[in-house]
């Protein structure tokens, strides 16, 4: 019953992106990463919805928008279990889990103020050293986040 309703809601989006299975606690962080506050597209944010697998979850639907790979990588850091559905003409044309790559280039900033990446106009680079929970190491200063 519940899932039927949800699928209907997804299908109701003519085109755009639906990000589902976001843990409720990080929903607004994800929204911030997507820079939704600047979006003029039609968007729906739901939170604290019951989920069979993860307690309370959130969902974000944005019309007429797709997000670049790098943004999806950032979401993978916050919500590794999230699902991304790309909708075109009321149909899901792409359904996948966000995936954390082995190396994150220009995805996050280093927390170390004495790191070269915070003092030089350059890209950051992190290597994923553990996935659950996520641990990443700065390729420059070596700090683990």
């Amino acid at each position: 019953m519940n899932t039927e309703k949800k699928e209907l809601a997804v299908a109701a989006l003519r085109s755009g992106t639906v990000i589902d299975h976001i843990p409720a606690a990080v929903l607004f962080e994800v929204a911030k990463l997507l820079q939704l506050e600047n979006s003029t597209c039609m968007l729906t944010i739901g939170n604290n919805l019951p989920s069979k697998t993860q307690g309370l979850k959130g969902i974000i639907k944005v019309a007429d928008t797709t997000f670049p790979e790098a943004v999806m990588n950032r979401i993978a850091l916050l919500a590794p279990e999230a699902n991304v559905n790309v909708i075109e003409n009321y149909e899901v044309v792409e359904k996948r889990r966000v995936e954390l790559p082995d190396t994150l280039i220009n995805v996050v900033r280093c927390h170390n103020p004495k790191c070269i990446t915070n003092n030089e106009p350059m890209s950051t680079r992190f290597v994923v050293i553990e996935r659950n929970p996520v641990k990443i190491r700065c390729s420059y200063c070596g700090q683990v986040h």
Partner: protein, 307 residues
């Protein structure tokens, strides 16, 4: 001709470490040679460190190379806001090798990514200082005849001491046993204790620098305990003398024991230890020259008559 940057000690395999140490031994026997004839080495010290710079520059000049560079970043365009990338690219037009020290962590790694000439890291903030580790390893190798199966006691500031962390990690290839002697506030960080466990390196921790620890050590590696490291000055006053080595403490120590210290020391090694033949810290600093000659030749891909 293969050339290789040296940014961190972790990037060296056991075989590469041993090759550098054999080359250092070769240079100790033949310190003056013309093998860098026509080569120009730039020493870029974005942060002053006279000791390290003199050691590198002597290493180049004893091998017949020439040195350009700066020892005071205030005199360069870095102080006018030039990026590190631009400085490295500019110097790369002139030099065959860059030896650099920088106050920012990761600066040497970044330098390797913006130039085709080799980079030797002479210290990047609190991060890496591989030539110090290699001279420490050479000092162990030379005084003990091997790096294998040594019992190494590290004393003092084990929390912030970059040299002890790098030495610990480099020794993972050589089956060491460690003793960590420090007060609670300057204890060896968990990440390094976990590193030991993961690599099956036995270690014990002690808050008191006792005779039993001294008498079963092959190497005692002393470090400076600095007042600034303490959140509570009373705590510093309480512990500052607990980790001081005195000559009388060495009476029953092993004949092969040697005392190391990265220098400069304050008062953690009493002056009365200096004349003991087991005191090795001044020779240790001198070994830096040979280790750095070996590092420079490796970086420039110069073949040496040693394996």
């Amino acid at each position: 001709m293969e050339h290789k940057s040296l940014v961190s000690i972790d990037s060296l395999s056991k075989e590469e470490i041993l090759r550098i140490l054999r080359a250092a031994q070769y240079f100790e026997q033949n310190p003056n040679q013309k093998i860098l004839d026509g080569k120009i080495v730039a020493t870029l010290f974005f942060e002053p460190s006279t000791r390290t710079r003199l050691s590198f520059e002597t290493a180049v000049q004893r091998l017949g190379g020439r040195v350009i560079g700066f020892s005071d970043p205030a005199a360069t365009s870095t102080s006018k806001g030039e990026t590190l990338k631009d400085t490295i690219k500019m110097v790369s037009n002139y030099a065959d090798l860059i030896v650099m020290r920088h106050y920012l962590e990761g600066a040497a790694q970044y330098a390797t990514e913006v130039t085709d000439i080799p980079i030797v890291n002479a210290g990047d903030g609190a991060n890496q200082h591989p030539s110090q580790t290699l001279l420490d390893l050479y000092s162990l190798y030379k005084t003990q005849g091997t790096l294998e199966n040594l019992t190494i006691t590290m004393v003092g500031d084990l929390k912030y001491g970059r040299t002890v962390h790098s030495l610990l990690m480099a020794m993972r290839h050589f089956n060491p046993t460690f003793r960590f002697v420090a007060c609670e506030e300057l204890r060896m960080p968990e990440v390094y204790r976990r590193f030991c466990e993961k690599n099956n390196i036995p270690f014990t921790e002690h808050t008191d620098f006792n005779q039993a620890v001294i008498d079963t050590s092959d190497i005692i590696y002393m470090t400076r305990v600095q007042r600034e490291r303490f959140s509570d000055i009373m705590e510093y006053e309480k512990v500052k003398d607990l980790y001081t080595l005195r000559n009388s403490m060495l009476e029953t120590s092993r004949p092969n024991l040697r005392i190391l210290h990265p220098l400069p020391r304050v008062n953690e090694i009493n002056r009365d230890v200096d004349d003991n033949p087991k005191a090795y810290y001044f020779q240790q600093a001198g070994n830096g020259l040979f280790a750095r000659q070996a590092i420079i030749c490796r970086a420039l891909g110069i073949e040496l008559p040693v394996k």
